[in-house]
């Protein structure tokens, strides 16, 4: 009089397997999205290369992001600023991406860059404080000088912020009010 457990479970085995396959599928789906379709590296209206500017031509970050040390936002250069150099840099003028830039200038339109680094509105992040404290741009933004298309390497989440604040022993760095006011 023995009862086979596996025999008893047999009718349930197939739905269970199907469920497992589906769950694995979900993870695969998330991975595919994250790997091949992530928003960490959005396509920009102009194929602007930080590598060319910051590495090859050694332009300092704050030459273009002029507000970083005096404002919450680092600031994206105005179209006029871009054109300031690109009218002078002769050999670059015929490149297709620079022609796009010139197009924006001719139409007097701003360039709609896609935001890569963002924190929610309830976070009062300020570049000024971080820059003045000597935090290097790369610590949050990654090796920008090596990137052609800009990509986000840090999660920009609260634990990530707090970890750094803790590690550096920032004064009031773990106080809610420091960022949420």
């Amino acid at each position: 009089m023995s009862i086979s457990v596996s025999e008893a479970l047999r009718p349930a085995r197939k739905p269970a397997l199907i469920g497992v396959v589906a769950v694995v599928g979900i993870f695969v789906g998330v991975w595919i999205n994250d790997t091949y379709f992530s928003d960490r590296t959005p396509v920009q209206p102009i194929e602007f290369s930080h590598r060319v500017h910051a590495s090859d031509n050694e332009i300092p970050c704050q030459y273009c992001h002029i507000y970083a040390s005096r404002s919450p936002s680092a600031g994206v250069p105005s179209v006029a600023k871009c054109m300031g150099c690109h009218t002078a840099v002769a050999d670059a003028r015929e490149r297709p991406e620079v022609l796009k830039l010139a197009g924006y200038w001719d139409r007097q339109e701003p360039i709609p860059w896609v935001k890569v680094h963002d924190v929610p509105d309830f976070v009062h992040f300020t570049h000024k404080r971080h820059v003045l404290a000597g935090v290097q741009c790369q610590e949050c933004h990654g090796p920008v000088q090596d990137m052609d298309r800009i990509t986000r390497i840090a999660p920009m989440t609260m634990p990530w912020c707090v970890d750094c604040h803790t590690e550096r022993e920032v004064e009031n760095g773990r106080d809610c009010w420091t960022c949420h006011k």
């Binding site: 396959v21 005096r70 007097q108």
Partner: protein, 745 residues
């Protein structure tokens, strides 16, 4: 291991596929929405993105003239605060001042010049260019000037102070007309006249609430709406908590206002009897020897009729209370009596205010700390063209007679703020050309043929010398805090460009390219006039400093607390009884309208922040309501929220009942401010306008509209209406949260 059948395999693949798809979509769904970083095409010169810039300027939401600091970012105004350096409000601000942003960014602003295309009043307009609009107006005015008929041009503005008023004055005079009037519903004309009669000084003195020990207010809601509410609120705080000896406040009014609620005692005297009460107190002060002046006998004779019994009978205040008030008023070191609100808006308003002034004189507080301190006249531009009911009715008559060819309007809304019976709206129909210089399509602007949209006060240049002043010469420059939002112009610019286009001597006399230059020039003159030692070469520096500080004042100035002039009022002492329109039997209740601390006289009704701000006493938002005593309501079988028809000899309106315990049973109260038929989406068709109930009566001496002099009757329509309010219910429901004996179930 059993073999997997083909059918099973397909099922597994299907499950995997669906799972992967779901996973992909899930990951997609939790992504943050794409945001853009839009750089400017050309970098801004005057700000850094993300960094706030503060500009100091002047509040224009009422005539107190508080100084404000406006926080701007990326060229947009974000928040208004009080300017800490300004002596009127010392960094504080009232709700109306805060809501200035709603005026600037109001979606119902007039955005371009408009020309009427349909019938007058249909609201059909077409957009035209500024050039065309100005050419038309200038052409019309110029032709009248050539034909020597420019005296048929009437300019009607709101209560404009500062040099802008002088610009209007010069413009209209140069044009060849003398017709300039200012209609401002809240202008304290009765108080000014009373002060002239009592003291010979018309400009408003400084009421030193901060330092008085005993404040007796006859209807003046000094914490909400009276003259300079922010400044007086500061004074009140000082009186209560800022010093060793806490001062006492008594409020005399038939319906409890915010100031009444904050007083030590609230006394509901019979409406219109405030002057009698003041003289009753005055008689005791003279009789008991508190007053020791040489003309004591004359005072005694003049006050003879105000014996205790008569006063008690006329005011409904018990004899002992009157005696106590007199004793306290006489014995306090610094006592101060003020009058305002409905007490200053009856048919005997001026007489009542003169009586209140007499009280101050008899207590010996004129020119004393904690009393009435006489300001030197405002540095410039005190309004002198105020038109009361008498002048406005005359104007309406001239318009009817065809004596007015062109009516130029700016920032005034008589169609809303005057009873229909005054006939202003009808008279406008008889005027061939109406031009409105306005930011909003209010009831009066909507009747115009041509509308020239103006900047709001946050976009324009101007200046102001606050009145009542603060005991020393003070003035402020008003500067734009943001670039204009729409295709508007400042009213000063409009007047100047009209002058250029009209020609003749106008461009010579008014040579300034814009309002800024005009104001700057005026200040340059002042700079050397007021301070003979000043070097004109330093003016630029002075100008920038004054702009930056938002206020200019001479702290060391003499002549502030001037000598108290001897009142010349003994023969004028006569608290004539107030008369009320409407038969007592037919209209049993006295209507007590009051200025709303939020919507004010209705000018704030288009600002959504003010609409959604609960009234301080009733907590009602948005609509209109009529306050009546629960006892009155009980007699009439009226429940809270019943729709009541309120009828006066002048008109009738409907509003829901609000049972309010702090009101005299024979009085019903309604706030001004709602009931607009135009004025944008937030104001239009919301609530009712109690001005429509006000009968056409004026003060016997000043000719001002006696808006507190009307009787009404009530009829329960049987319908229910919703009063949106925040106060829940007024009963404790047996929760034992009050003192046991007072535990109303």
């Amino acid at each position: 291991m059993s073999k997997i059948s083909r059918r099973d395999l397909l099922q597994y693949i299907g499950a995997g596929g669906v799972g992967t798809g779901a996973g992909y979509l899930f990951a997609e769904a939790i992504k943050r929405p794409v945001e853009f970083l839009i750089p400017p095409v050309v970098p801004p010169e005057d700000y850094s993105p993300g960094v706030a810039t503060w500009y100091n300027t002047v509040c224009n939401q009422c005539s107190a003239g508080c100084g404000i600091s406006v926080r701007t970012r990326e060229g947009r105004a974000k928040k208004i605060e009080g300017n800490p350096a300004h002596p009127v409000n010392q960094g504080r601000l009232c709700a109306r001042g805060q809501a200035g942003l709603n005026a600037l960014y109001n979606p119902d602003r007039i955005r371009a010049p408009l020309k009427r295309v349909g019938e007058r009043g249909d609201g059909a307009f077409e957009t035209i260019s500024w050039d065309e609009a100005l050419t038309q107006v200038a052409g019309r005015l110029g032709r009248l000037k050539i034909e020597d008929r420019a005296d048929r041009v009437q300019l009607l503005t709101g209560g404009i102070r500062g040099h802008l008023g002088e610009l209007f004055e010069q413009f209209i005079t140069l044009l060849g007309s003398d017709r300039y009037a200012q209609y401002d519903f809240t202008y304290p004309a009765n108080l000014r006249l009373a002060n002239r009669l009592s003291f010979g000084i018309e400009h408003l003195p400084y009421y030193d609430i901060a330092n008085c020990d005993f404040l007796l207010s006859f209807g003046a809601d000094y914490l909400g709406t009276w003259l300079s509410p922010v400044h007086f609120s500061l004074g009140y705080g000082q009186l209560r908590q800022g010093r060793e000896q806490r001062g006492r406040c008594i409020q005399i009014e038939p319906r409890m206002s915010l100031s009444g609620a904050n007083a030590d005692e609230w006394i509901a005297a019979v409406p219109g009897s405030e002057g009698v009460l003041a003289l009753g107190i005055a008689r005791i002060l003279v009789a008991d020897g508190t007053y020791t002046g040489s003309d004591r006998d004359a005072w005694q004779r003049a006050l003879e009729p105000y014996s205790g019994d008569r006063v008690a009978a006329a005011t409904g205040v018990a004899l002992e209370r009157v005696q106590q008030l007199a004793a306290e008023f006489g014995s306090s070191k610094a006592s101060l009596a003020i009058g305002g609100g409905a007490a200053a808006a009856g048919t005997n308003a001026v007489a009542s205010l003169v009586a209140v002034n007499a009280l101050n004189h008899l207590a010996g507080n004129l020119g004393q700390p904690g009393g009435i301190i006489f300001n030197s006249a405002p540095v410039f531009g005190s309004a002198t063209r105020h038109a009361g009911l008498t002048q406005m009715t005359e104007l309406a008559a001239s318009m009817q007679d065809g004596a007015i060819e062109v009516l130029l309007l700016h920032d005034t809304n008589p169609i809303y703020a005057m009873p229909d019976a005054a006939g202003f709206a009808d008279a406008m129909a008889a005027v061939p050309t109406i031009v409105a210089m306005s930011s909003f399509m209010d009831e009066t602007t909507a009747m115009a043929d041509l509308i020239l949209p103006t900047d709001t006060y946050l976009e324009a240049w101007g200046d102001d010398a606050p009145e009542p002043g603060v005991g020393l010469p003070v003035a402020s420059i008003s500067q734009p805090v943001v670039a204009r939002v729409y295709d508007t112009r400042s009213v000063g610019d409009i007047v100047l460009s009209l002058a250029r286009r009209i020609g003749f001597e106008l461009p010579v006399a008014l040579p300034w390219a814009n309002t800024k230059e005009f104001i700057k020039d005026a200040w340059k003159k002042l700079y050397t006039e007021l301070d003979p030692q000043a070097d004109a070469a330093d003016f630029e520096e002075f100008w920038l400093a004054a702009l930056q500080a938002g206020v200019w004042g001479r702290v060391e100035a003499t002549g502030g607390p001037g000598d108290a002039p001897a009142p010349s009022t003994i023969p004028d002492i006569d608290a004539a009884a107030a008369t009320f329109a409407g038969d007592t039997a037919e209209f049993p209740f006295i209507l007590h309208p009051y200025l709303s601390a939020t919507l004010f006289d209705g000018r704030g009704a288009n600002l959504p922040w003010l609409q959604e701000l609960p009234d301080q006493m009733t907590s009602v938002v948005y609509g209109s309501w009529i306050e009546l005593n629960p006892a009155t309501a009980g007699e009439l079988g009226i429940r809270d929220g019943d729709l009541i028809e309120v009828e006066s000899p002048a008109g009738s309106i409907r509003a829901p009942a609000y049972l309010f315990p702090a009101i005299e049973p024979g009085v019903v109260a309604m706030p001004f401010g709602q009931g607009h038929t135009a004025y944008g989406r937030y104001a239009q068709n919301r609530g009712v306008n109690p001005v429509q109930l006000v009968a056409l009566q004026s003060d016997q001496q000043s000719g001002e509209l006696a808006w507190a002099g009307t009787r009404v009757k009530l009829r329960n329509t049987g319908e229910r209406a919703r009063v949106v309010r925040n106060d829940g219910i007024s009963r404790t429901l047996g929760r034992q949260i009050l003192h046991p004996e007072e535990n109303h179930a």
